[in-house]
Structures are given as C-alpha cells and as structure tokens.
Symmetry: C2
Subunit: 773 residues, 2 copies
C-alpha cells in the first residue's frame, strides 16, 4: 500500500503499530518518555467540523481560497494513524513538536489523497466519455457521467472510509481580560499543555508552548456537529477558481454573429426572464414553505426563498450546448440557448448578491421596504453594469496592447499577456467588490471580438486550446463534485416537500421565462420562435454549476441547507435525465440537426478569413442578392433585414470606430473619423492597417465573428441540411437578399471574401475561395 | 479609486468615514445600537502574525495550499477600514455578524489585490521582456527583470502601504478541563463576547455565539511578532503549485538524445557533485558561524548549515538555459547544464528532506550518529528511487492508455487525460510521503519519451504549449515573489557575515562540484570537457526557485531566517548579475553560439519524424560512415562510439522492449520477444503497429528524442556553424562512423529517415528528406 511506503524505509517509524478505531484518538500508546497512557475523554474529544462556509459571505475568505482545504482533516483509514502514534515513540525531540509535524504531514497526505480522488474521477470520466463517443452512445452526456461517477465515489467515501475526528476544546480568555470589540479576535493564543496537564512530575515535562489559532467561523448547533467534512472544498473555490475559466471560455467562444442577431431575444430571456422566474419561484416557494413542518418553515424567510429563486433560475450552458454542438443543431437555436445561458448566469449571480445585500444591509426587518428595495435594485444594476464595464475595458485594453506593441512576434509572451490580462480582470472586479465572474464574461467577449484579431496565429490556437482545456476540466470537476458532495457534504437537509416543490417551481419558472416572453418577442419578430423551438428552449433549461455554487456558498441555516439539497438534486436530475433525453426530444420536435454551418467548421479548424472589405461603392447588390439565402427547413430563419435593431446600431459603431481603433482592420479611423480628428486618428492607426490590402491573408479576423457586418453572409452560412460541400446551396425557403442589403445601408456591398481553412488534423491544406466580387 | 466603487452605489456604506491610523483598530466609532465606544487596549490588541510556516514541515498543511492566504490580513490602506467601520453603523442585523461579514469581504478584497499585484508584475515583466527582445537587449534576462520589478514593488508595498494589525487574544481552556493529549486540539471554540463584555445592560445585547478557531502553529517570540505579513504566500504553495509545472516542463522538454549521451557526466555532477557541494558548504558555513556573534551562532546547529548547503547547491535550470537557447549554444554544453540543473533540483529536495529527518526523527543529539546517518542515507536513496519509480510508472501508464485506447480521436479528451495523469503523479507521490517534484520530473521525461509519440498532432502541440505557458508564468511568478518578499516577508534576518560567507561558499561549492569532477570525468571521456566549458559550467551555477522554496519553507528559528535572507540575496545576485553577464562570458570564453542544430529547430516547429527503421541486415555501414560527423569547432564533440555506456544499455532495452510496448513504434514486441511469448506479444501489439510502413508519416516520433538510437544521427545533427541548410554537411573533424556502429550492435544499420518539418509560422510546408538506404 502506497500509504506505508515511507515506513518501509524508515525503520524507526511504524514499529509499534496497533489498530486504532474510529472515534478514538489513540488509546493506550505507552510512550517511553513523557507520554502517559491516554484514554479518550468523551467530553473534550468530540467530532466537530470547521465552518468553512458559515456566514452569508463565507468567513473563510480570511483563508482565501483554501485549495487543499478539503475539510480540515477528513476521511482516512486507520493505518494513517498508526504512523502518527508510532512517530511519537521514535522521537527524541519534543514529542509534541513531532506529533504536530506528523499530523501536518498526515493532513497534507490526506489533502493529496482527496485531490487524487477527484483527479481519478476526472480521468475515469475522460476515458468513459471517449468510450461513449467511440461507440456513439448519445443517451448520456459527459457532464451526466461526471455526476454519476461522483455519486458513486461519494457513496464509497461516505460508507467505506473511516473518519478522523477533529479534536476541539472550549476556551475562555485568560483571566479577566477585557476585550472591547464587536468582533471576535483574529487569532487566539493558547499555552499548551498549559493548565491541561498539571502533573509535570515527569523527568522531561512537555514544554509549555504557545499555539496560534486562526478564526474560522461561527459554530451552529454545538450539539449536532457529528459529521466530518469529507472531500469537500471551501465553496469560495468555485467562484474564484472553477467558474472564472468556464465563464471566460463561454465569452471567448461565443458565436457573436448569431448572438447579436438574436440580441433582443437573448437579453429579454436573460434579464427579464431570469428576474421574473426568480421572483415567481421565490413567491411560490414561500407559499409552499408555509405548508411545511413548523421547525423548518420557521427558518425560511421570504428572502431565503427569493434567493432560492435566483439561484435556481440560471440555466447551464454546458451540457445542452455540448449536445447541440455535437448534433450541429440549428444555429439560431444554439445562439438563443447559449446567449441566454451565459447571460443569465451573470444575471443570477448579481441578483443573488443584491438579495443578500437587501437582507443584510438594507432591510431592518427582512420584510418589504421601498427604500431597501430600491437600494438593492440599484445595487443590481450598478454592479452588473460596472462589472460589464471593467470586463469590457480590460478586453479593449488588451486589444490596444496587442495592437500597438509588436508582442505578437513572441507568441509565448503574447499568450501570457492574454492570460494575465484576463485573470487580472477577474481580480480587479473582485477587489472592487464587483462580480468577477460577470467581468470575465464580458472580458472574454471583447477578447474574442477585438484582441483575437490582433493575436498571432500561434497565440490564437494556444489561447483557444488552453481555455478549452481549462473549461473542460473545470466543468467536469464541478459536476463530479456535485455528485460527491451529495454524500460527503455534512450539511444536507432532505425535505421531501421542499425538494418536490423545488422541482415543480423550477419547471414553472422556466416555463414563465420562455413561453410568455416568446409570445411577446414573436409580436415583433419576423422569424417567429416556433412552438417547437419554445419547447426545446424550455427543455434546455438544465441547472448546473452556477446554481450549485450559489447554493453551497451559504449553508449556515437549516433553510439554506434544505435549499442546497434541493438544488443539488435538481442539478443532478436535470443534467442526467434532461441532458440524456434532449437527443430524443430534438428528434421528436423535429428540430433540424446536422445543420452544416460554416461557423461550426470554422470553430473546429484554424481559419484565416478576411472579411468583407468595405468600400463606398454601391455595386453588386444584385449579385449578392442573387445568392438567395437558404432556409433551414422549419427553423426561424433570421434574415439580414431582421437583424436585431440593437445589433445594427452597435455593428455600425463597432465597424466604424471600435474595430479600427482596437484591431488592424479596415476602414481605419482616418476614414471614419471627421477630418478634424485626423492627427489623433493617424496616431491610432498602425502602419499595418494602412499598408494591408483588402483581400490578402494579412487581414485576418476572428473566426467567431466573421462577417458580423457582412450582409451577404447568410447566403453561405445558413444552408440547409446536407449542403456541406455546396457553396451556393441556396435551396428553397429563403427570401431574396436584395431588400435586405438595401435596407442595411449602402456603404459596404462589394464583398471580396477569401476563406481558407486549414484542417488541422490531417494537415491537408485546402482552400475554398468564395470570391464574389 | 477602485476600492470605493462599491460605496458609490451603496449609499448606506461609507457614510461615516474617518481616518483610522495604523496600529489602531477603530477608535471612537459610536455605534447606534449596541456598539460602545471602543478604545484600543494595548494589552490585547497587538499585532501578531499567524505562523503559516513554523515547524519543520509547515503546520499549515492543515490548511493545505492556501492560495489566497497571502498573510492573513495584510497590507491595505486606511480607506479599506472605513468601509468596515461604516458597515457596522448601517446594519440592523446582529452587528457582530455584519462586522464579520464585512471583514471577510475585506479580506477577500485584499487577497484579490495582492494577487493583482503579482499579476500586474507579471504583465509588466512580459511587456518589458518583449521590449528587450525587440531591441535585442541581452544584458538583462527576463527572470532578472522579474526579480528587479519584484524588488521595486516590494519596496513600495513595504514603505507605502499601511498595515492591518491582527487582533489576538490569549485564552485558557474553560474551567478545569482535563485534556490528556500530547497534541494541542485541532480547533478551539470560544464564546464571544462571553465574559469579555459582562455588561449586557444594553437594550439589544450582543448575542453570545460560539466561534471556531483552527490550529495554525506555534508562536515563537511572543514579544517580537510586530511585523505583519504583507503580500506573502504560504511557502507550501511553491511545492504544490509553482514548482510542479516548472519541473514537469523541464522533464517534458528535455532533449533526451543529448541527455543520454552525457548521462554519466550529468549523473556525476547532479548526484555526487550536489552532495559533495552540500557537505562542503555545510562544513565551511559551520566553521564561519562559530565566528559570528554569540546570540546568532548559538542558534545554528551543524544540521542547519548542512541544510543550507543542500538548499544552496542546486542550480537553476531556467535563466541560463533561456540564454543558451536564445544563443543556440553548443548542444552538449546545453545538455550538461540542463540535465545537471534539472537533476540536482531533484537531488537537493530529497537531500534536504533527509537532513531534516535526520535532525527530527533519527538523531537524538543532533550530532553525528552512525545509525541515524545510515537511516537518513537510506531515506535519501529510497525516496529518490521510489519517487522516480512512481513518476516513471505513471508516465508509462499514460503511454499505455494512449496506445491502447483510441482517445486520440478526440484531442481535447486526450490532452485532458495527459494533464490529469501527470498531475495525479504528483498527488500520488505526495500522498505516499514521497517527493512529488521528483516524481513529476521523471513522469515528464517518460511522457515525452513514450506518451508523446502516441498523442495526436493536436494534443502534442497543445500539451507542449500549455506546459510552456504554465512554466513561463510559474517561473516569472516565483522570481517576482523572490523580489517582493525581500521587502515584505517579515522574518528576514540580515547578518553580513553569514551573507558574505554564503556567497563565498556557494561559489566554492560550485567550483568543487565542477572542476574536480570534470577532471575525473575527463579521465574516461574522449571528448574532454574543455576548461572553457568548465568555466562556463561553473559560471552557469545560478541559484533559483528551488533554493528559495527550500529556504522559505522553514523560517522558524533565527538560524533559518538568516539562511533565508542569505539565500534570497544569493538568488537575486546570481540571477541578475550572473544571468546578465553570461552573454559576455560566452563570448569571452569563445564558446560557440549560434550552433544551428537540427533539434533546436525541431523544438520550435512541429515535427513528424520517423526515426530509424531497424532491420536485421548489416548493410550500408560504409555508406553511413561516409557521412562523416562534423565537429563543432572547439567544442567537445561527442561521437557515437563515445555514447555513454549507461545510455547504450538503456537505449538497447528501450528500443527492443519499452518502445514497442508503450508506443506504436517498430520493431514490435512480436519481433523482439522470444517466440514463446508470442501470444502475449500479439496482445500488446496494436494493429496500427503491424500495418504501418517504415518510412511513412504514420510512424511519428517525439521531436525531443529523435534518433536516440540512430547511430548516424551525428552526421546531420552536429554540423558546425553555418551548416543550416546543408544536410550532408560533414566537413572535417569527425571520425569515421564505421567503428562506432560496429561497436554498437548489428541489428540496425539500414536507416531510412524521413523528417518533415512543418514550419508553423508561415504555414509553408517543406519537407527535407534524408533517405539513406
């Protein structure tokens, strides 16, 4: 056994091994020198747990991100103790020191073991995913798999492993110290053994040493703390380590073209829908809670149920999109689901923060107060907008850095700069008490939209691949953890009524989010969101990482524990069952899959695409119009004249000012700014921008926003099924393109597109020229 | 100021701002409800520091890797306090809770700020490196730069930022509790305010709550703990987060061909040399310490100085190799320096562990005891070998996984598997009380040697690039940290005598490592290590990350603090001055730079190379010999017949059994194993292995060990200066190849090499065929 390998070559260690049972520290270990025969005293040797996550905002923040802090001392086997006990015997230095040292070593080993469990889980998941993909199993998705493995391992840890009890001791201040502060002190100093072992008649008495103890948090329910923390992490780890790369990746890989086309619907669903759903769920749950047993219902406030509404409303972008991606589902549906999921995560985290603040800082009673309500409302908007601003500015700043320096000559430096700037966005937002997760989301979007274009080819691949990998690992880690924690997290509180109502209201909340808003949107929307799409949107409302992270952040009260349990179960159910069933549902709803969409390919292969070279001539409208847009059968086919209004305004501004400023694209600021600003414009325009020619490879653009302002893109992008090879596969359904481009503006119609795809896998190099001058 | 942005839209917060001075908690904040006017009491409000790193093995292991644990509450400006104080006033919930909450938030923000400082430092370093590279500045290397920036920022933090004192309180067990354990308890529970505020006559008394306190460590020098921790990390972070990727990358990018060619010399330098140097430095330092003032010298034991010897002996592979790499210095010198640096890090960490164990567990007096000495010696070898074994086995296991599954069809899964397996190597070693850093080193070597060949093209690039980036970030972080900590780490102890002797003995130790051993090696070595090379080897002995990490791991005693200070200064000096001067020295010693070496290019570009296809015919020896080996002028030119003996044996075994088992290479096990094992061999041979043809691209091999067993490789690899384009540039100096290959064995002489280089940058594809059948 690996555990004992140290013993084998440390002959002095592990000699006096004896079986030590759970709940006993070590009993009857006859120490040669000063250690007496210790018997367990039940009054002071009790199990306890250290409250890593106790108050509203985890008080463990004092410990920062306790990466290995997997429960203080958690599960282990009896053997590990033997070393500890045995070490004491072989020692000649102060026994306490050595015991402490051994204990620290032991803790480190257990921490390593715990991490190893998760690493093993992830490895297992990876291998099984491969098997499933290899055999084309579609009824279980990788995140579902991670959850299931997590559940199994969690059960094993819970029921197989024995536990190490933590020893705690109640203390009082020395003498009659006065300590006039409203806060408990940061550290306690205790002399040990101090007055604990008054008989120092041994020849070598234990030295009195002073030990420091750091603040952990409030102890609730002094009597009930019987379960150890096993393989659990500080919840803040999710917000500081796990979520940021996931969210950044979401932003970085957002398909902005479709995102902007559906911007109105996405914003509606994400902001209005999520808020609506939160309040509705909160209200229904509050009603239901009142029907529950007294001891439980009394612990719930309306703010608690509202918080539950906020945390259960955001949908998870991971599982369902992986499925959509594999199936090449209709791009607009994809954009709707993705955009909504990503944004509603951001909305939910800010919303839950505002609810928290309402309860803690603004409201005196916990009931409704107009003043407090508006404070919270302004919190919500300010934090959201400021986080957005920080994220966007840092993204733009990175773009400027990469544009005006020639750091691209050294791809490694460039990638490092990219990663550092993105990470510092998170830190800046957190340091300003804003929401880091929201900031990195918008930073990711800006990085993809601007910085990406300035990066060297090498850095593009590298950053994409790194964040893809990080995202994959983080995503599977969190789902494994959800599974494991169902068994190992000590503070679950199962209440059937709450769980069932939770499931029902979560579904209702999703329905309220989708159906009425779709109806509303359809009033003004030319390509209606068909009812099949609405059903799919409803069904795609899996709950995931964000819900879980928000639920586990605060488990101080029984109400919160009940909420955590319900949330975990909802997440597990939706990810495993809904995720698994979405394939069938897609079939059943006859939603087109296998839509061969150029951007899909672009995402997989390396791309250099020079997008539309914009000229002031108004030619070729007919030529472009001749390429009729192809309608994906039965899908909502967003035509260019129906591009979201917001997107149009923004696209214009973006093309004229932002892109010329932040990237090497044409037209330059010299062309778009008024003449009076020419000196400034010249300063902000690189030689590269001026010297490049329109059609060359030099003017490369991000794959994810290729042709955001290219009106003719639809002609090649939304080809119907099976139009993979066909470049002009305009087959049926599509309306003419002429009116559309006419409506859009007259500046850019001469389109000269060259897109060359490098198929990375087999290195064959084929270029598809779509030159339509 | 970013700090106050929350205040702006939280109108309730930050209203009652008042200036709070350092050393005062908050004074005279008149609380509306229950908060009295608090005045600072000097006896219980003192600064303290939490001992993150106190005993021999950090007792903070209980906290695991405290990623944000940047000092408990560290530097901040006065403003941050105002929020805290102000928050109390706006609150209606229990004041203590809210204050705690605010404090947690504050701590989190400060942690974020601290990390932000390092992120900013790294960003600055990246940009400056670019500038330097752009302008071809060679007198300052990036790591030197990181150190210098670190020093500047450290000074700013030290002298500009005000500090947050930690509040500590001395406690005793409640009543006359008996607590018969040799260990202090894991947690303390204290009622607060408890008997601290006996006058609960307020209308809303503070609730008595129980708070948990977690064990931190021993408090030394109760009187002297006056300096806060500022922007410092738990030292264990280096061993668990920072060093592993650096060391793994070193192993993964080791140029194994040259490594094995110089294996004898490298092992000699690394193992014998480091040990020798450690003991010599230890002995000299012990003598010098006795000359120092009494109060200091009494705190040093011989084990302390020996530990200093062990930690100052390993040289840093980072800086000097980056310089060598940039300059394309002679490959054998490169291999010697790299191999030695990488291995002596491993040796040093194990050696220092053994010394530690000697002092703590084995020796009763601290003096010399034969028994204890041999125990430590066996520790040293067992831990080293077992760690090596774990690393190598995990590497091989990964190779098997990637060979026998088709996970390569999904590069993302493959990369994830690779990363997870490599990380679990570290965890397994740590969980077995072995040395994780040593394990990942050998895991990295095996991954490069075997697994790399099985990976898909995409994963190869991705894993290389990821670890390259991680290595870059980790490396620069640690050097920034060395700079910052010179000012912010509270436990520096400057002693001129020790520092000066430290510098001198470090140089002496290096000299003793190099010169006598080189002389010894030269006795048996055909291409002598020239005296210029020896000087360069001596000069390349920069101290770096490993020395610093070992020194900062334990700063409990004054002796250890003095050692840390000396080590930091030596690291800074050697990295900045020696690193900067190495360019000039290379010139001055006339060591050939700009050696265009195939492997150098291979490392930069993507490569598929099918190495020698081994056949049982003994033909073409003359033809191969006709390509005379080219001698790099003035350099030690290792010829193939002088390949290290160890390398030869290993190479044989590797080619016949390991590679066929672990990779898709030929010959297969069917050919190399005895006939009786055929069924087993068939099982272990993939169809891929059987069906591939010798010269095709299918049989790709690692770039870093291309032709390890290809005797004719020298012909194209060690071409002299300027032989970049010439493939057969055998121009003078080389001995015939005939005797060499004759001596090597008769199995593989018909060599059919095709190596195609993909120049990644411009995507042009050119292949250089070296077909010499």
């Amino acid at each position: 056994m690996a555990y004992n390998s140290q013993c084998e070559h440390n002959p002095g260690i592990g000699r006096k091994m004896k079986s030590v049972c759970n709940h006993k520290w070590y009993e009857g270990a006859t120490a040669p020198l000063q250690l007496k025969k210790y018997t367990q005293r039940n009054n002071c040797i009790e199990k306890t747990y250290t409250l890593g996550n106790n108050s509203s905002r985890s008080n463990c923040a004092g410990d920062g991100i306790n990466l290995f802090g997997i429960g203080r001392i958690s599960q282990t086997t009896c053997t590990t103790f033997l070393i500890l006990a045995a070490l004491i015997h072989t020692a000649n230095a102060t026994a306490t020191d050595i015991a402490l040292d051994a204990k620290a070593t032991l803790t480190h080993r257990i921490d390593s073991l715990n991490l190893l469990v998760y690493t093993f889980l992830l490895t297992l998941t990876v291998l099984t995913i491969w098997l499933f993909k290899h055999h084309r199993v579609s009824w279980l998705h990788e995140t579902g798999l991670a959850v299931i493995y997590g559940l199994i391992v969690g059960a094993v840890i819970r029921y197989a492993g024995t536990s190490t009890p933590l020893v705690h001791l109640e203390v009082d201040p020395v003498g009659d110290t006065k300590f006039n502060q409203s806060l408990p002190p940061d550290t306690l100093w205790m002399k040990f053994p101090g007055k604990l072992t008054p008989n120092t008649t041994d020849k070598d008495p234990i030295q009195n040493k002073t030990y420091a103890y750091a603040f952990r948090g409030i102890v609730y329910d002094v009597e009930e703390n019987e379960i150890d923390l096993k393989a659990t992490f500080d919840p803040e780890i999710f917000f500081n380590i796990i979520l940021p790369p996931i969210i950044f990746h979401a932003g970085y890989s957002l398909k902005k073209k479709y995102f902007f086309r559906n911007l109105g619907a996405i914003l509606m669903f994400a902001i209005l829908g999520t808020t609506l759903s939160s309040f509705l769920i909160g209200a229904i749950m509050y009603g239901c809670v009142k029907l529950m047993p007294e001891y439980l219902s009394s612990s719930f406030t309306f703010l608690d149920t509202l918080y539950f509404g906020a945390l259960i409303s955001p949908t998870d972008p991971l599982t369902i999109l992986a499925i959509f991606h594999d199936l090449h589902v209709d791009v607009n549906l994809y954009a709707l689901v993705f955009g909504e999921s990503v944004l509603n995560d951001a909305v939910a985290i800010v919303l839950s923060g505002a609810i928290q603040n309402y309860g803690e800082h603004y409201s005196s009673t916990g009931g409704f107060e107009t003043n407090a309500f508006f404070k919270s409302l302004s919190d919500f908007f300010c934090i959201f907008m400021l986080s957005l601003l920080i994220g966007a500015s840092m993204g733009c700043f990175t773009a400027l850095l990469t544009k005006f320096t020639r750091v691209r000559e050294f791809p490694l430096l460039e990638s490092a700069l990219f990663v550092l700037m993105s990470y510092s966005t998170f830190l800046i937002a957190e340091a300003s008490e804003l929401t880091g997760v929201v900031a990195v989301l918008f930073c990711g979007i800006c990085q993809a939209h601007y910085t990406y274009n300035n990066l060297s080819e090498d850095s593009r691949t590298r950053t994409k691949e790194i964040f893809e990998l990080l995202n994959f690992l983080a995503e599977n880690f969190i789902f494994s953890y959800i599974g494991v924690s169902m068994f190992t997290f000590p503070k679950h509180h199962f209440d059937a009524v709450f769980i069932i109502t939770g499931f029902v209201t979560a579904a209702i909340g999703r329905a309220v989010n989708i159906y009425p808003l779709s109806w509303l949107l359809n009033l003004n929307r030319k390509p209606k969101i068909s009812s099949n799409f609405q059903h799919m949107l409803f069904f795609a409302g899996l709950r995931g990482a964000m819900s879980f992270a928000l639920a586990i952040r605060n488990t101080a009260s029984e109400a919160r524990q009940t909420m955590l349990t319900a949330t975990s179960l909802i997440v597990i159910f939706t990810v495993v069952i809904q995720g698994g069933a979405s394939n069938f549902l897609l079939n059943w709803l006859k939603i087109p899959v296998g839509v061969d969409e150029e951007t899909e390919q672009l995402n997989n292969y390396r791309v250099r695409s020079s997008d539309a070279y914009l000229q002031d001539v108004d030619v070729d409208v007919e030529g472009a119009g001749g390429l009729a847009e192809a309608g994906a059968p039965g899908a909502m086919n967003v035509k260019r004249n129906e591009k979201a209004f917001l997107a149009r305004i923004w696209g214009n501004f973006d093309t004229k000012y932002m892109k010329p400023l932040l990237t090497h694209s044409r037209p330059t600021l010299l062309e778009t700014l008024p003449v009076c600003c020419n000196p400034l414009a010249r300063l902000l325009t690189t030689t590269e921008q001026l010297t490049q020619d329109g059609g060359g490879l030099r003017r490369s653009d991000s794959d994810s926003d290729i042709c955001i302002d290219d009106e003719n893109f639809g002609a090649s992008s939304t080809n119907g099924n099976g139009a993979a090879g066909g470049l002009n596969g305009g087959s049926g359904g599509g309306s003419g393109v002429g009116p559309g481009s006419g409506g859009m503006g007259t500046r850019r119609n001469s389109i000269n597109r060259v897109s060359i795809r490098f198929v990375a896998d087999d290195r064959s190099l084929f270029a598809s020229y779509k030159n339509r001058d």
